[in-house]
Symmetry: C2
Subunit: 266 residues, 2 copies
């Protein structure tokens, strides 16, 4: 059995105590920087070993302190702040080259096969994957190695920033190698679409994430996942982007929100 | 000059290093437990001393580990994870009686007089405070000392859980003693309304917050603030509640989201 690219490239090795080491593979980058969702996946891979009884991130917040370093090793220092029957509250710090890159605070739990949705948010109408437009491997002159790992198909009416009129991006996503999604994948997928403000602002220089919080609501079914990301709040160069992910059966899997800076090209 | 109740009752004293001590005053409780927003305010009061150049919580996440203890002292241990020109990333842990109660991760900054809102979320239509209904000092047999400190006036169509049909609560809020709101107050106000699921479920036993994340978008003007809280996502006893706060001039001040457990009475 061959491990998937995602599992291989987020593998963390316990060093004893609460420290785990791994490698930041260059295949998950946006331009020169490792994707934030990928770096978070490394931290979560360590947390899943720290609290194996609670593999699912029910709530996870990450603050991005500095860019990650592709093709270099990393260390994740974990701390179980409190562990109860239904959830474990954990911290994780991802370090490269002696400097802290990510600071994570999470409530890990076990979503099991739960499915009692009393209230939920429905997936929007969406053309089939065959009718959608691949996210380009180049964007504003930036190479996206990430797209060698992920297949991202955008709504045809939103795929061209120049033609869009609002800050919204909707698309299908899956691993290129056929690995099926789980809650770790859902977490990754909340931070791998183009920034939704591209549709409103056109060219933007850079949209660094300050903080991302994701709530995973249930385990996804096999198949494509559908993501929708919107920005309703952009103030003094700081935007709040809301994201939703559904699985192939139309179940809501994740809610995400991030605070990002919008840097217009000078 | 007399200090306000809020400022007096969230006063934290530096003990040297990065530790601050204070007291959990009993006036901010819901039944026997200190309100979560109030406990968070104690942690923020410490952080504001730790990074005085960055007084505003641009993004703050709190995990509630255990209930607080009213009428007892508390200690807040702070750590500045990274401090830059525009923001400081900080941790804080609130401890009482030797046990960690709150774990906080925040990006603190300086909102100044900024006002360049490119996108925002408009306040909903709302009857004037005179037409609204005070949040009762008793709820489901539980005494709310908090309402000796805060004036909360609910939308007349949402004030009676028995008559409501959806998980939404909208209301005006201000300090009873006339203290004007600032970003610390806005943070408090995101966690002091009745749980929005009351309107959908009627009687609920207890809605403990697991995690709350608040983004403060700008400094509020003087006067009443308007809050609206909704639950669109309730799955397997875990709800996501979204909250918005506007100031008296209609500016969006805060976006909040919390993960809470819904415990139906047995």
């Amino acid at each position: 059995m061959t491990m998937s690219q995602f599992d291989t490239e987020t593998r963390m090795t316990a060093q004893g105590g609460s420290v785990y080491t791994g490698h930041v593979h260059p295949h998950w980058s946006i331009g020169a920087n490792p994707n934030g969702g990928y770096l978070l996946s490394l931290a979560v891979a360590a947390l899943r070993q720290a609290v194996p009884q609670h593999p699912d991130p029910l709530s996870i917040t990450v603050h991005y302190l500095r860019p990650g370093l592709p093709s270099q090793d990393c260390e994740v220092r974990t701390q179980v702040v409190r562990s109860g029957r239904t959830l474990s509250t954990c911290r994780a710090t991802l370090v490269q080259d002696g400097a802290e890159r990510l600071e994570v605070l999470a409530a890990m739990g076990d979503l099991g096969a739960g499915s009692d949705a009393r209230l939920s948010i429905e997936a929007p109408p969406m053309p089939s994957p065959a009718e959608c437009v691949p996210r380009s491997g180049h964007s504003q002159g930036v190479h996206l190695p990430l797209l060698d790992r992920l297949e991202i198909l955008l709504h045809p009416e939103e795929s061209d920033p120049a033609g869009a009129r609002r800050a919204q991006v909707t698309g299908w996503i899956r691993f290129k190698d056929g690995r099926e999604p789980d809650t770790a994948a859902a977490l990754l997928f909340t931070d791998t679409f183009p920034p939704s403000v591209f549709g409103l602002l056109g060219m933007v220089g850079w949209v660094p994430t300050v903080e991302l919080t994701v709530h995973i609501r249930r385990r996804p079914s096999a198949g494509w996942m559908l993501g929708q990301f919107r920005t309703h709040d952009l103030n003094d160069g700081r935007m709040i982007e809301d994201g939703l992910l559904w699985d192939a059966q139309g179940h809501l899997i994740a809610q995400a929100r991030q605070l990002a800076l919008v840097r217009q090209p000078g």
